[in-house]
Amino acid sequence: MSNHFVCVRLVKCNQLDLTLFQFDYDLTFAAFFLNHDRTIYARYGTRTSLKGADSDVSTKGLAETMKSVLQLHRDYPANRSSLAGKQPHDIQHKTPESFAALKHYAPELDYAGQVAKSCIHCHQIRDAQRLAHREAGGDIPAKLLFPYPAPDSIGIELDPESRARIRRVIAGSVASRSGLKRHDQIDQLNGQPIASTADLQWVLHHARDGQRLVFSIIRDGKAAELTLTLPDGWRNQSDISWRPTTWDLRRMATGGMVLLPLSQAEKQQMGIHSGMALRVQHVGLYGDHATAHRAGVKKGDVLISFDGRQDLATESSVIRHAIKAKRPGDAITLRLLRGDQPRQVVIRLQ
């Protein structure tokens, strides 16, 4: 099976063709499967946390995806219409260098010099996309803030050793209500062949609130079709705290703080009864990442209110509020606990 591929390794994003290579730029490993005419058969590569990557990807899962790709290749071009949705769209920049933040990079790596610094890393593309919106004074679109939602954003988890088999349906979720069940094999989603978790995330990435998703599944050897309607705000449930690109969002939104929710036991011990209790796990000390530090925030402080909100239970929800409801330059009041002593500081968003 593996002998049937031509393998290409790309090691840099300098001059990367963004009219073709659209994927989750927070990954450190991603694969594309294509026909020589540039038609994309499938994407591979998923990450949902900073824990071991084996909870999201595996060599067995990659092999299953490759089997699926070979079938798509055999069926091509008769299946061309079913692949249409997998092709790049929303093309706004042809290369990373077309972003102002990245235009100074040379096309080739400087192997004789500081080669790592001469490389445009994948995550810098998303950083540049967001920065372009932010510096224009505009909103950062939800699709850029919460990109490539993981399957759990709709209430399912996929088996990383399969191409797209459900290993868990979260009780009470929209997926549960739609009738999806454990062990269902997702064959197509909105007519697109699903060869990997990344393929499913591609569909979710481009989906809108209220959109219907049609799952073509195999259950107990029989084909079936189920429909799920995405509720309002479904995308905002994504956890973006693990993403490398969230580092720059923290500069803009939290003054450089990294925030981690307290456990229920820790909240009880501190006598916190509201929904918000986020420990400052790290606070930037230098440059634009030191806004919170300069305002007096210290590592170990517990954030209990942000801009008057006490219901922002996760770092992702804090970032969303700061980016979507506020603008650069706005002053935000933080209420914190240092031990049992309350403190209040003000930071300005960037």
Partner: protein, 73 residues
């Protein structure tokens, strides 16, 4: 020549991934990038940073391309 490409490259990658934390522990990130290039540039299992050659090979061989984007962390 390409018939054994993937299995050979998979072995090469597995070795690199397994030993990298130890072998490269004294290396800078720049050293690691150069080592990665040295290890794979002449490996016939892969077209290293040469997408154009990959397109042409896929057309001639009538095979699909697998394009891997992998950062040296």
């Amino acid at each position: 020549m390409h018939s054994r490409r993937f299995s050979r490259c998979a072995v090469a990658w597995a070795i690199i991934v397994a030993v990298a934390p130890f072998a490269f522990s004294q290396q800078t990130r720049d050293d690691m990038v150069r080592s990665d290039r040295q290890a794979l540039l002449n490996d016939e299992s892969w077209y290293y940073d040469d997408l154009e050659a990959g397109w042409q090979a896929a057309q001639v061989a009538r095979k699909p391309l697998m394009v891997v984007l992998r950062c040296i962390p």
